[in-house]
């Protein structure tokens, strides 16, 4: 019909009150941009997690103790368990590194820093976690045997405690016990929810001695001879541990392969993404309600104009069209700016996460914003269209 002219009326209506149109657009802009950006952040986090787990290598099994229930007979994982895993009965197991971890506060000079993870293990741990040294050296088996107070620190700990100085050779206090820093690990980056570089590794013996005591191990990290040998290694490990722990039905430990770890962690980050996306969706909804609000105000304010248009013969459909187009233009314009803002925003690292844009989320957010205009604009527009001409003209 005269759709072009009606669209022109709509544009004129919007430009007549630029401030109001701008603010309404801003609501949609923020909604769309946050949907795109937060989904990108969630996606970035999960791909970071996948990468970091993939970095572990495909021939790793992680054994962790089942949380002891009161009254249960669950036995702790011990250093002896770890030692027993490498034997003639387990030809497919290459290494088994016992691991303990603790919370620790480190201090150097006047600075202190809470280390995210203070790990006690043996030198094979670096191998199995794909950690390489950036400065200094790793500690040796000899350090473990002698329980020397040496420590290898992560990149975050190095920058927090030793800004501008070389940490290697310095003595750092861990829970007030002096440790000598022998090396700094290469930075790995954040793996989504936690900083993988906020850690320190010391010999198992030293850590148990100084920090954790001789209770259960946190983990035993088993490296199989090869990726193909992993299922066999898992079976052998199970047999040995079942024998040592006298298991008949339910095991008191858990074996996770890298695949399982990946599945578990991916599920976590997916939940995280869904959570972020729903927060963003709510802000988009609020933006839509903003459109309804503004359009209702616009309709009320322009009742006389609607009356005039009707008096000169505007059919109901053209009034409806005019206000629907106004609402849709607001949301489309906001949506387009929001897409731009979201795409620009996702170029930056946010909270340690490099966002990864999901093309479908961009399309979805834009399409939803257009629909929001139609949906939230339809009520005010139909109210305008249904006005009786004489009542609209009499309105002051």
């Amino acid at each position: 019909m005269r759709i072009f002219e009606i669209a022109a009326f709509a544009v004129r209506g919007l430009t007549a009150n630029k401030m109001r149109s701008g603010l309404t657009t801003l609501g949609i802009l923020i909604g769309v941009a946050s949907v795109i950006l937060l989904i990108a952040v969630g996606n970035g986090a999960s791909s970071a997690v996948q990468q970091s787990i993939a970095g572990l290598g495909t021939n790793i099994l992680t054994i962790s103790p089942q949380r002891a229930q009161p009254g249960s007979t669950a036995k702790p994982l011990t250093t002896a368990d770890a030692a027993a895993l490498v034997s003639q009965d387990s030809p497919d197991v290459k290494y088994a590194s016992p691991v303990v971890s603790a919370q620790a506060t480190a201090g150097y000079g006047d600075t202190t820093h809470d280390i995210g993870q203070f790990i006690g293990s043996d030198p094979r741990y670096f191998d199995t976690t794909n950690s390489s040294v950036a400065q200094g050296n790793l500690f040796s088996d000899n350090d473990v045997q002698q329980a020397r107070k040496v420590v290898v620190i992560g990149a975050t700990v190095a920058t927090e405690l030793f800004p501008g100085t070389d940490p290697v050779g310095k003595s750092m206090l861990v829970n007030n016990i002096p440790f000598t820093v022998v090396g700094v690990l290469a930075a790995k980056g954040s793996s989504g929810l936690q900083d993988a570089d906020d850690m320190a590794v010391a010999p198992l013996s030293t850590t148990q001695n100084a920090l954790t005591g001789y209770g259960s191990l946190t983990q035993i990290v088993v490296q199989a001879q090869s990726a193909d040998a992993l299922p066999n290694a898992q079976a052998q490990v199970t047999t040995i541990l079942n024998g040592r722990h006298k298991i008949t039905d339910t095991a008191d430990y858990r074996i996770l392969s890298q695949d399982q770890l990946l599945t578990a962690r991916t599920a976590t980050t997916e939940t995280f993404t869904v959570l972020l996306a729903s927060v963003a969706a709510i802000s988009l909804l609020v933006g839509g309600i903003g459109i309804t609000n503004i359009m209702l105000v616009t309709v009320t304010e322009r009742i006389r104009e609607i009356g005039i248009r009707k008096a000169v013969g505007a059919p109901r459909s053209s009034i409806l069209g005019q206000f629907l187009i106004e609402a849709t233009l607001l949301s489309l314009f906001g949506g387009a700016l929001g897409v731009a803002a979201g795409m620009i925003g996702s170029q930056f690292t946010i909270a340690g996460i490099q966002p990864v844009l999901v093309p479908s989320s961009v399309l979805l957010a834009f399409a939803v914003s257009a629909l929001i205009g139609l949906f939230f604009g339809s009520y005010p527009a139909s109210r305008a269209a249904k006005l009786r001409p004489i009542e609209a003209l009499r309105h002051e």
């Binding site: 005269r2 007549a16 005039i308 013969g313 505007a314 001409p389 004489i390």
Partner: protein, 226 residues
């Protein structure tokens, strides 16, 4: 030849029950093509209600209204808007121009809804503005025009579609003497060129321009002065 307006036993009631207000109580009126009629009456007599119904802005409670031979009784809102667009030119006391919109765009408005093409629309709107003597004010907005000029834009808008009738609800009510004279002069010329004009007024001076004056008292025609 059928009259332009034929109204039989027109009734309009606002509200219902005890609080009902009877604005029109069985009014009859016939207006022939080319006539110039003034409707007079005290405030509350129902003359504005009558004009609104004649302009298809309002709907009668009962009675018959034939516009140009067409019975409007069964029409729905969509058909009424078509009638308003094609058959009726309405001039209001308070001008009722679309704000922030140029005189030209205001005059073009009915043609837009009639689906007239852009070039032809412009040509006809400019001709209508020239007829009311505003060819040099086409790009002024209502707030840049005097009351008299605004009313002349409104008249141009009313006649641009070449309607069967021009209805004017106290067109000079908000104007000074000089502007009133201009507006009435335009209406006189319209009528002289064959257009049917019906206007409401309570000034005898204005009514004297008309061929006949219809007095409305208590929702009925009380007398016709020729």
């Amino acid at each position: 030849m059928s009259p332009v307006i034929e109204v039989r036993d027109l009734r309009k009631t606002y509200g219902n029950g005890d609080t009902a207000v009877h604005a029109l109580r069985g009014l009859d009126l016939i207006v022939q093509k080319g006539e110039y009629i003034a409707i007079m009456g005290a405030s509350g007599s129902g003359k504005s209600t009558l004009l609104n119904i004649l302009g298809c802005l309002d709907i009668a409670t009962s009675g018959q209204y034939l516009l140009d031979g067409i019975d409007t009784g069964e029409f729905d809102e969509e058909q009424l808007s078509l009638l308003r667009n094609r058959k009726i030119g309405f001039v209001f006391q308070s001008f009722n121009l679309v704000p922030r919109t140029t005189a030209l765009a205001n005059v073009e408005l009915p043609l837009v809804y009639a689906g007239v093409r852009r070039a032809q629309r412009r040509e006809r709107a400019l001709a209508a503005l020239e007829l009311v003597g505003l060819q040099d004010r086409t790009h002024h907005r209502p707030n840049e025009l005097s009351g008299g000029q605004q009313q002349r834009v409104a008249i141009a808008r009313a006649l641009v579609t070449s309607p069967a009738i021009v209805l004017a609800d106290e067109p000079t009510g908000n104007l000074d003497t000089e502007s009133s004279r201009e507006v009435l002069g335009i209406l006189d010329r319209l009528n002289a060129s064959g257009r049917t004009v019906v206007l409401i007024t309570h000034e005898d001076e204005v009514a004297s321009h008309a061929m006949r004056t219809v007095r409305v008292v208590d929702g009925k025609v009380a007398g016709v002065l020729v």
